[in-house]
């Protein structure tokens, strides 16, 4: 069988991080090729290289598609050759109709005038192919996620797709919709359309995939051929997580005390879709000096849980109790949560963590201006001293504390966010993806800071999608899936396999 796509020795570096390192993948014509790996393994980056989001020249290696070497300068180039990517976050315009969305940027028009009857007729055909029984005039916002996914696929078909790339297409679908989607892929396969399927749901992959490429830490681990032999989920998991644990985490002798923080029956609903329960009766506890992890896949509800807890910053209809030192505390606004000594360092520091246009000094004191002011007047000198102190303690690399946050590297920005929250003097520190997008050296520094906090008697709740990080740092790990805590593992008997099994098992229920 001929290959439709060969990506050879693809290497892509971002400042400070090697996202892809000599990755090879070969997709044969008319097969469903699964791409698996942990969060951050480089799957999405690889697909962005393929589709031209990262143009030729910004990476090294070669892409051979339909027998010729291709140098895509943008998405338009790859789409023209039939490579269509459907992203995890759907790229539909909610207030336009299905037909308008399908032909967006590719309108059925003559001299700029749209031929609506042609567009509707064509849309009807496409919707029939994907098995979506809706009028072309229906607004996309009125469709469920599963149907929106089908609209995306119809859109791809309208562009004469030859290689369809689906990034976590079933992540937010229920079982019935997922099955329909997978059957559609099998149907396309019969018509000779190849696909690349990125998914965490290994049971689905074993159902439809002809070949599986496993990525880990930006490199290709192996390619498994499912036609030659049956590949078990265990086999795939081993490939995904089988990395050797080096000395990437600073040593720490945990000194764990009594339980200081408890969350009881915490539930929260989606802010817009009121019936959707995003956090389901979560119960957890943290002891003095303990680092507790929450593992889970993206979209498991971990951030939503943390933000709903921190001053109801996410969701609505929030219920549950929060207990600190045996007393129930009020965390209904951020201000109250902070004054009750809870801090939450966000996963998205640029959007939620920093005022980018302001300098380090002003960002550090933002959550505790009272700490550097008297009678509402800021004491410049004291503020400067505080900022300089944290700059030294956290080893923030910048010419001075007057450097604007926007000009700092990811690692240093993260240190500023942490400084801000440490200056608010919390007892419970919730860290959401504290090392996301940070290079290895800075990660080690952040880990050291976290360990120091725990040793200082604080309780740390650490959310991370990188399992090795949780295993290397935490004393106890909760596993979250679909809004519920589904497992609690002591570090002594926790492993990536166990976490993955817990997730896969609960996902299948």
């Amino acid at each position: 069988m001929n290959s439709i796509l060969e990506m050879r020795e693809i290497t892509k570096t971002f400042p400070g991080v090697k996202a892809l390192d000599n990755v090879n993948i070969t997709v044969k014509a008319g097969e469903i090729h699964a791409l698996v790996g942990e969060n951050g393994a480089g799957k999405s980056t690889l697909m962005k290289v393929l589709s031209g989001v990262y143009p030729h020249g910004s990476y090294s290696g070669s892409i051979i598609y339909e027998g010729e070497e291709r140098r895509f300068k943008g998405i338009a180039d790859s789409e023209a050759l039939g490579i269509i990517i459907i992203h995890q976050e759907l790229a539909l315009v909610p207030l336009l109709s299905i037909a308008e969305n399908i032909f967006l940027g590719n309108e059925q028009a003559h001299y700029g005038i749209i031929d609506w009857s042609a567009a509707f007729a064509r849309t009807k055909q496409l919707l029939k192919v994907v098995g979506l029984d809706e009028s072309p005039e229906t607004l996309v916002t009125n469709l469920g996620v599963g149907k929106q996914q089908l609209v995306e696929i119809a859109k791809a078909l309208s562009k004469k797709v030859k290689l369809l790339i689906l990034d976590e297409p079933t992540a937010s679908l229920n079982e019935k919709d997922s099955d329909a989607l997978l059957n559609l892929l099998l149907q396309f396969k019969a018509q000779g359309i190849s696909s690349i399927l990125i998914s965490h749901k290994l049971n689905e992959i074993s159902k439809v995939a002809d070949a599986i490429t496993v990525l880990r830490d930006g490199g290709t681990v192996e390619t498994l051929d499912c036609r030659a032999e049956t590949v078990s989920e265990d086999r795939i998991i081993r490939g995904m997580v089988g990395r050797t644990m080096e000395d990437r985490y600073p040593k720490r002798e945990p000194n764990i005390g009594e339980t200081i923080f408890e969350v009881e029956n915490w539930s929260a609903y989606h802010p817009i879709h009121t019936h959707m329960q995003v956090v389901k009766s979560v119960n957890l506890s943290i002891r003095r000096g303990e680092i507790v992890g929450i593992a889970g896949l993206m979209g498991a509800g971990r951030t939503e849980f943390a933000m709903s807890l921190f001053g109801r910053s996410y969701g609505q209809n929030i219920t549950g109790r929060v207990v600190l030192h045996g007393k129930e505390i009020d965390v209904s606004t951020v201000e109250k949560a902070v004054s009750n000594r809870i801090a939450y360092a966000t996963e998205d520091r640029k959007t939620y963590g920093l005022v980018l246009a302001e300098d380090i000094r002003k960002n550090v004191t933002l959550a505790n201006l009272e700490g550097v002011s008297r009678n509402l007047v800021i004491d410049d000198v004291q503020e400067l001293a505080v900022a300089n102190d944290y700059r030294a303690k956290m080893r923030i690399r910048s010419p001075s504390v007057f450097q604007e946050a926007v000009n700092l590297s990811g690692g240093n920005q993260q240190k500023v966010v942490l400084s801000k929250w440490l200056f608010s003097d919390p007892e419970i520190l919730i860290l959401d993806e504290p090392t996301r997008g940070i290079d290895v050296g800075a990660k080690y520094e952040i880990y050291t800071i976290i360990n120091r906090l725990a040793d200082g008697g604080k309780g740390v709740l650490m959310i991370s999608s990188e399992m090795p990080e949780l295993l290397g740092m935490c004393d106890r790990i909760y596993v979250m899936n679909e809004g519920s805590l589904i497992a609690e593992l002591d570090i002594a008997d926790a492993s990536q396999e166990k976490i993955m099994h817990a997730i896969v098992k609960s996902g299948r229920r």
Partner: protein, 399 residues
């Protein structure tokens, strides 16, 4: 009061030379420089009329209400909003003052207090919709602009109402009396000028020594001395000129106190800092425990009070309230803030910038009027200057 700490604290590289420092702070100095250049230009082309004591006094009187509103507008814009209704509030509050004093027989003090409260209430009403109901401020204040323009007409019955009691007129046309009894020369004006200058220089020295003590690299001493020397010359020269006429107008004192107060609030207080954080990144501010809604609400209340004050000053200056008072003021005020370097997306802007911006507009208005340029081309030129100033700023920021 120390109003310049934050401005001067910026630089960090060791051993800054004059040129490097000026380059790094071009935005701060550039605005002041352009104001001086514009003044010099009009001083030359008007054959020295611009800086004659009489005209200088007029310049202050004509621009006081714009400057005062620019202080409030700066906070609104820094918080990431806009207020289009201030012109109409000026008209409405002026009308209310006229009705209270002329028709309903209230005394000037009661009237002034009531009018300031009314301004605050109007601001609160608009701020409520913006802050808590999340209606875009552009829409809310556009509606407010129409509503209060209409209410002014209704209140005054379409007529001009005046004149006012003399005490009230003093708000705008009065001068600080000379306690030293100089003949044709107002020693008080010079004295007040020197006193405030001394205070300014004292604080400027104190903040510099504080900075040096904490290892913050400051402007080179030569530049620092030059800056303060220039400031001294300008203040003394200004006060001397005013002293040879009738002294310092009351409204100048009100304006100066407000400028100092707002510079202090924005630079040194927690509420000021929080407004900048709110405009810079509302989500991050909220997640840092800042009550963003209440803060937005308060910036609008503040704007309302200042617009009310401007309404009183403007009415006192004309000695009559007309239905057309305040028409188009919002444009001058908003232009002043943007010329002064504020960012339309919020989070950036300075009180000193807004004041300089207001005077850039004011000097151009005044200078072009002296030259006899018609109101038609005056607007064209002002519009182009606004565009040029802001595009230069955008270009500078990109660099």
């Amino acid at each position: 009061m120390d109003t310049r700490t934050a401005d001067d604290l910026h630089v960090s590289q060791p051993k800054t030379s004059w040129m490097e420092f000026i380059k790094a702070h071009f935005r701060d100095y550039g605005m002041l420089l352009s104001l001086l250049v514009i003044m010099l230009f009009f001083q030359v082309v008007t054959n020295g009329t611009l800086l004659r004591p009489l005209n200088l006094t007029n310049l202050v009187l004509q621009n006081s209400y714009i400057v005062i509103m620019a202080l409030g507008m700066l906070l609104v814009i820094v918080a990431g909003h806009i207020d289009l209704s201030v012109g109409s509030i000026v008209g409405f509050v002026g009308g209310l003052a006229a009705m209270m004093m002329v028709r309903w027989g209230f005394d000037p003090v009661t009237t002034t207090i009531a009018c300031l409260i009314m301004g605050g209430l109007i601001g609160a009403a608009q701020g409520y919709w913006v802050a808590y109901s999340k209606v875009p401020s552009f829409i809310v204040t556009l509606a407010g602009m129409l509503v209060f323009k209409g209410l002014t007409l209704a209140l005054l019955g379409g007529m001009s109402v005046g004149p006012f009691p003399v005490v009230f007129q003093r708000l705008s046309s009065g001068f600080i009396p000379d306690v030293f009894g100089g003949q044709g020369f107002n020693y008080t004006a010079l004295f007040l000028g020197i006193a405030s200058l001394t205070a300014l220089i004292y604080f400027s020295f104190r903040s510099r020594s504080n900075q040096l003590k904490h290892g913050v690299e400051t402007a080179p001493f030569g530049l620092f001395a030059f800056k303060n020397g220039l400031l001294a010359v300008l203040v003394i020269a200004f006060c001397y000129l005013m002293a040879t006429y009738r002294g310092l107008p009351n409204v100048l004192v009100i304006m100066a106190v407000l400028i100092a107060l707002y510079a202090f609030v924005t630079n040194r207080t927690t509420i000021g800092r929080r407004i900048y954080a709110l405009g810079g990144n509302e989500k991050a501010a909220k997640l840092s425990g800042i009550k963003t809604e209440r803060l937005t609400f308060l910036t609008f209340v503040n704007m309302g009070v200042l617009a009310g004050l401007a309404g009183l000053i403007f009415a006192a200056r004309l000695n009559t309230a007309t239905p057309k008072a305040g028409l188009g003021f919002e444009l001058d005020v908003i232009a002043a803030v943007f010329i002064g370097g504020a960012s339309a997306t919020g989070g950036v802007g300075k009180v000193t910038g807004a004041v300089i911006g207001a005077f850039v507009m004011g000097v151009m208005n005044n200078g072009m009027s002296i030259l006899g340029i018609g109101i038609d081309y005056q607007q064209v030129i002002k519009g182009l200057v606004l565009l040029a100033a802001v595009s230069l700023d955008v270009y500078n920021r990109k660099k």
